[in-house]
C-alpha cells in the first residue's frame, strides 16, 4: 500500500511537470541580427488598441484607429517624419494668391485599392460628406474654415455641398475659405482630409468594416479586439512607400503584456512604453539600442481657469510657474521621457523660439516674492485624471510648489479621461487643471488658436484677450507664411505675459522596436512612421 501511495504522489508531480512542459509552444526568441539588406517580404507587427470609432477617416482621431487608417489613406500633403515639414504627397500643386482661394491640382494615375482612379471629386465628395452634420463625423470641425461649412454642419442641413468646394477638372479642384487662412495648406495633411472612393458613398457602413483607401498599405481584415491586418499596395506611387509586406496592428489589453512581447521579439514596434518600464529608467537597460526616440508635437501645461475665485491673479500665476522645478521632475519622475517646456509651442515647429515663457524657470526666491505680492491665501490644487501615469508628475509639481512657496497643494484625481474632460468642458474646475495638447498638424497656429483664442475649442482656462484674438486673426489672414509666423509669435509673446496656462513639459515620445527591425522611426503624432521601417533580412 505504502509503495502504491508513493507512486500516486510521483504521478501527480510528473503530471504537473508535463502540463508545464507542454506549454512550450513556439516560444524561443531568435537573435538574428540584420547583416545587410532589408527583407521586402517581411511581416511587421505593431502594438495597437481597439479603435474608438468607425474606421472612416473623418471619424478617426485617436491612436487606435489612426494606426490602421493612416497608412491606408494618403492625403494631399504628407509630413516628413524627422522634421514634420509638409511636402506634396497626392497634391501636384497647391497654389493661392490670397490664402483664401486655393487651387489644388492632384497627381494623375493614382488609384484607390479597388482600382478606381483618385479624382478631384473624390476629395470634394469626401469633404462634403465629412462636414455634413447629418453624418455626425467626429472630425467635422476640421472643415470649419471652408465657405459653406456653417450651412452644412447643422443637424438637418438644407444643402449637400459646401459652396467653397468646386471641382474644376478630373485632377483639379478649388477651395474657397470663409476668410484667408494661411495655414490651410499645412492642415490638409490631416487624416480627415483623405479622399474617399465612390464605393464609400454607396454604403458607408460596409466601407467602415473594410476601408478602401489610396495609401501605401491596403486593408485586409479585422478581428475586433484582436488585430487589423494590412498588406502593401504594390501600385502605390507616393514617396512614403513601405519596405515590408504585411502589417499587423495587434490589439493588446495591457501595455505591460505588449512590452513583454516586444522584449522577446514577438512584437516589432511599440510607440509608447508602460509605466512599469519607465519606472527608474528600466526601459533604457531593457531596450538598449532598440529604443526608439521621437519628437512628438505636444505640450503639457497647467490651465489656471480665470473663473475660479482668486485665480485671476497674474502674480499668483507667476509664483506658481516659478515654483515648479521642471528639470528635476522630468528627470526623476518621468525618467527622461519628457523634456521641460519653455514656451507655448513644441520644439521642432517652425516658429518655435527657446525661452518664450520667461516665468517657466525654477526660481524659488522670485516665486516667493510674487507669492507675497499676490496676496493669495488658501491652498492650491491641481486636478487631472489619475490614470495612465498622469498623476505622478503632477503630484511632484504640487510638492515642488509646496516646498518653494510654503503653501498647501493637493492633487485632485478624476477617475478617467471622460470624466476629466467633462469637468473641464463644463467649466467646473476648482483649481488648476492638467491641460495637455497634441498638435493635429505641425503648425504654430495649431498650438495657439484652439487654446488661447477666446473662442478656441480647447481654451481650458477661459482666456480672453482681445489683443491676442486680433493678432491671431491677423496671422490667419496673412498669406505670406513667414509674415504669418511672425504674427503668431507676437501673439505667443502676449500669452506668455498673461500666463493663462503654465507650460510644464513636452513629451519626447519613447518607444521600442524588436531586434528584427533595422530601422523604425516615430512620427510627430506618436505613430510608427511606416515608411521608415526596414526588416533585417534573414
Amino acid at each position: 500500500m505504502r509503495a502504491s501511495r508513493g507512486f500516486w504522489g510521483a504521478t501527480a508531480v510528473v503530471a504537473t511537470a508535463a502540463l508545464l512542459l507542454t506549454a512550450c509552444g513556439g516560444g524561443g526568441s531568435k537573435e538574428d541580427k540584420g547583416s545587410g539588406a532589408a527583407d521586402a517580404n517581411a511581416a511587421v507587427s505593431v502594438y495597437g488598441t481597439e479603435p474608438e470609432n468607425t474606421l472612416i477617416p473623418a471619424n478617426t482621431n485617436e491612436l487606435g484607429g489612426s494606426k490602421a487608417l493612416k497608412p491606408v489613406f494618403s492625403a494631399l500633403i504628407g509630413y516628413k517624419s524627422d522634421t514634420a515639414e509638409p511636402y506634396n504627397l497626392m497634391a501636384e500643386s497647391i497654389t493661392t494668391t490670397d490664402s483664401k482661394v486655393f487651387d489644388i491640382k492632384i497627381k494623375k494615375g493614382w488609384k484607390f485599392h479597388d482600382g478606381t482612379e483618385v479624382k478631384a471629386k473624390n476629395f470634394v465628395d469626401a469633404w462634403n460628406y465629412s462636414a455634413n452634420g447629418k453624418n455626425g463625423m467626429q472630425n467635422a470641425s476640421f472643415f470649419e474654415q471652408i465657405q459653406g461649412y456653417d450651412e452644412i454642419s447643422v443637424k438637418e442641413p438644407a444643402v449637400k455641398e459646401m459652396s467653397g468646394l468646386k471641382v474644376v477638372g478630373d485632377h483639379e479642384f478649388q477651395v474657397t475659405l470663409k476668410g484667408p487662412f494661411s495655414v490651410f495648406a499645412t492642415k490638409i495633411g490631416y487624416l480627415a482630409f483623405a479622399p474617399l472612393p465612390d464605393k464609400f458613398f454607396a454604403d458607408p457602413e460596409a466601407f467602415a468594416k473594410a476601408p478602401i483607401g489610396n495609401g501605401p498599405l491596403k486593408f485586409v481584415s479585422r478581428t475586433p479586439n484582436q488585430n487589423m491586418k494590412l498588406t502593401r499596395y504594390d501600385e502605390y506611387q507616393g514617396e512614403d512607400k513601405v519596405k515590408f509586406k504585411d502589417l499587423e496592428v495587434r490589439i493588446y489589453t495591457s501595455q505591460e503584456t505588449a512590452y513583454q512581447d516586444l522584449l522577446s521579439n514577438r512584437l516589432d514596434f511599440m510607440e509608447a512604453l508602460p509605466p512599469a518600464a519607465k519606472a527608474g529608467g528600466k526601459y533604457k537597460t531593457d531596450l538598449g539600442e532598440r529604443l526608439v526616440e521621437g519628437n512628438l508635437l505636444g505640450i503639457s501645461a497647467l490651465a489656471i481657469p480665470y473663473y475660479v475665485p482668486g485665480y485671476n491673479n497674474l502674480d499668483l500665476r507667476k509664483a506658481i510657474s516659478l515654483a515648479i522645478d521642471r528639470e528635476q521632475i522630468v528627470k526623476t519622475v518621468m525618467n527622461d521621457t519628457y523634456s521641460p517646456a519653455d514656451g507655448y509651442v513644441s520644439r521642432g515647429i517652425e516658429g518655435y523660439r527657446p525661452g518664450v515663457c520667461e516665468f517657466c524657470k525654477f526660481d524659488p526666491v522670485k516665486a516667493k516674492e510674487f507669492w507675497a505680492k499676490s496676496g493669495y491665501t488658501g491652498k492650491l490644487t491641481i486636478a487631472s485624471n489619475a490614470d495612465g501615469g498622469r498623476k505622478e508628475p503632477l503630484v511632484a509639481a504640487c510638492n515642488s510648489i509646496k516646498n518653494a512657496l510654503g503653501v498647501e497643494c493637493d492633487f485632485v484625481p478624476a477617475t478617467d479621461f471622460g470624466q476629466w474632460r467633462s469637468i473641464v468642458n463644463g467649466r467646473q474646475l476648482t483649481g488648476m487643471g492638467r491641460s495637455d495638447w497634441s498638435a493635429d498638424y505641425p503648425s504654430i497656429e495649431n498650438y495657439l488658436n484652439p487654446r488661447y483664442k477666446s473662442t478656441g475649442s480647447s481654451n481650458d482656462s477661459t482666456y480672453n484677450s482681445p489683443a491676442v484674438d486680433a493678432l491671431l486673426q491677423q496671422a490667419d489672414q496673412t498669406a505670406d507664411k513667414a509674415a504669418a509666423i511672425k504674427l503668431y509669435q507676437q501673439a505667443e509673446d502676449l500669452i506668455a505675459k498673461d500666463l493663462p496656462q503654465i507650460p510644464v513639459w513636452e513629451e519626447k515620445g519613447v518607444g521600442g522596436k524588436s531586434n528584427r527591425l533595422k530601422v523604425a522611426k516615430l512620427d510627430f503624432g506618436r505613430l510608427a512612421d511606416y515608411s521608415s521601417i526596414e526588416v533585417a533580412a534573414k
Binding site: 500500500m1 504522489g9 504521478t11 501527480a12 503530471a15 504537473t16 502540463l19 508545464l20 512542459l21 507542454t22 506549454a23 512550450c24 509552444g25 516560444g27 481597439e50 479603435p51 474608438e52 470609432n53 468607425t54 474606421l55 482621431n61 485617436e62 484607429g65 447629418k134 453624418n135 455626425g136 463625423m137 467626429q138 467635422a140 470641425s141 454642419s153 443637424k155 478581428t223 475586433p224 479586439n225 484582436q226 488585430n227 490589439i251 493588446y252 489589453t253 495591457s254 505591460e256 503584456t257 505588449a258 513583454q260 512581447d261 522584449l263 514577438r266 478617467d416 471622460g418 470624466q419 476629466w420 474632460r421 467633462s422 468642458n425 497634441s438 484652439p450 475649442s457 480647447s458 481650458d460
Partner: protein, 308 residues
C-alpha cells in the same frame, strides 16, 4: 424531477430581467457625459453627439432605453459598440476562447486539486500533508494577477519556455499556463475541500461497513468514500465554472487573450453599455444552467437527495 427542472427553468425569467436591468442601469445611468472624452482635448461636435445620443436612445428614460434594448435583444440583435462593431460578433469571437480557457482551468484544478486532496485526506498528517497545506495556503494568499504575471515573466521572458501573450488562435497548448494561473486559486480550495471531506468520511459508518464486508480498498475508496466526499467539491467546481466563464478578466488581460473577460473589461472602461449588458446576460444564463446541472448531479451521486 421533471417538475423540479421546469421550476428551475421558470426561475430563470425573473432572474434574467432583474440582472439585465440592474446591469443596464448601472452602465448607462452613471453620471457624466459618455461623449465627454471621446474627441480628445476638444469637445465633440454637436452633430456627432446628437447622432450617437439618438443611436443609443440616451435621451429616453432609463426604463424606455432598457425596453428598447430588450426588444432588440429578442430579435437577436445584441446592439452595437461605439465603433460600430456588432456585440453579437464580439461575443461570438470571444466565447469559444473563454470556454476553452475555462475548461482547461477546471481540468487543471480538478485533476491536481482532487488528487492532492485525496492523497492527503487518506494519509493524514505527514510530510505530504504539510506540503499540500503550505502550498495551498501560499496559492490562496497570492492574488491571481500576481500568479499570472509571475508565470508570464518567469516562464515567458526569463526562461523563454512560453510566449508572453497568447496568439490569435489561442490553441490549447498556449492556454495551459494561463489556465494554471486562472485555476490556481480554486485548485488550492479544491485540494483543501477534498482533504477535509475525505478525512471526515474516512471514519463514517458506511465506510467501516464496506471494509468489514471485505471489499477491496480501491473499491471502498473509489466508490463508497469518494462518491460521498465529492459532493461539496462538485458544488464548488460548478459555481467555479460559471465564475471562470466570465471572470477571467485579470488572466485574460495579462496574457492578452481575446475572451469574455477582456470584453467586459473594455466594455466597462469605454462605457459600452451594449457590450457589458450583452455579456452579462449570457453569463447569467451560464451560471443558472451550470448550477442546475450541479444540483441534478447531486441526485445521481447521492440517492438520498431528491427534489420532489
Amino acid at each position: 424531477m421533471s417538475q423540479y427542472i421546469l421550476r428551475r427553468l421558470l426561475q430563470l425569467i425573473p432572474v434574467f430581467f432583474g440582472t439585465t436591468f440592474l446591469i443596464y442601469a448601472l452602465v448607462w445611468a452613471v453620471p457624466g457625459d459618455p461623449f465627454a472624452g471621446k474627441c480628445g482635448q476638444v469637445a465633440c461636435p454637436p452633430a456627432y453627439v446628437e447622432m450617437m445620443t439618438a443611436k443609443f436612445n440616451l435621451d429616453d428614460s432609463i426604463f424606455v432605453q432598457y425596453f428598447k434594448y430588450l426588444g432588440n435583444l429578442f430579435t437577436g440583435d445584441w446592439g452595437e459598440t461605439f465603433n460600430g462593431v456588432s456585440v453579437g460578433e464580439l461575443i461570438g469571437n470571444a466565447y469559444p476562447v473563454t470556454v476553452r480557457l475555462a475548461l482547461i482551468a477546471v481540468a487543471i484544478e480538478a485533476i491536481i486539486g482532487l488528487s492532492a486532496g485525496i492523497l492527503t485526506g487518506l494519509r493524514g498528517k505527514g510530510f505530504l500533508d504539510n506540503l499540500v497545506l503550505m502550498s495551498t495556503t501560499f496559492l490562496i494568499s497570492v492574488p491571481v494577477f500576481v500568479t499570472a504575471i509571475v508565470l508570464q515573466i518567469i516562464l515567458g521572458s526569463e526562461l523563454g519556455i512560453i510566449d508572453a501573450s497568447v496568439s490569435e488562435d489561442a490553441t490549447v497548448g498556449e492556454l495551459i499556463v494561463p489556465g494554471i494561473a486562472l485555476g490556481s486559486l480554486s485548485m488550492a480550495y479544491i485540494a483543501r475541500l477534498t482533504r477535509t471531506s475525505i478525512a471526515e468520511n474516512r471514519h463514517a459508518d458506511y465506510v467501516r461497513t464496506a471494509v468489514a464486508k471485505g471489499q477491496p480498498r480501491s473499491r471502498v475508496v473509489g466508490v463508497h468514500l469518494l462518491r460521498n466526499s465529492v459532493i461539496p467539491v462538485l458544488t464548488f467546481i460548478g459555481t467555479d465554472i460559471g465564475a471562470l466563464m466570465g471572470g477571467a478578466i485579470v488572466t485574460e488581460g495579462v496574457f492578452n487573450i481575446n475572451g469574455i473577460g477582456g470584453l467586459i473589461f473594455r466594455g466597462i472602461q469605454n462605457r459600452e453599455g451594449a457590450t457589458v449588458t450583452g455579456v452579462v446576460v449570457l453569463l447569467v444564463m451560464v451560471y443558472l444552467l451550470v448550477s442546475l446541472t450541479v444540483d441534478l448531479l447531486y441526485a445521481v451521486l447521492d440517492p438520498r437527495i431528491r427534489y420532489d
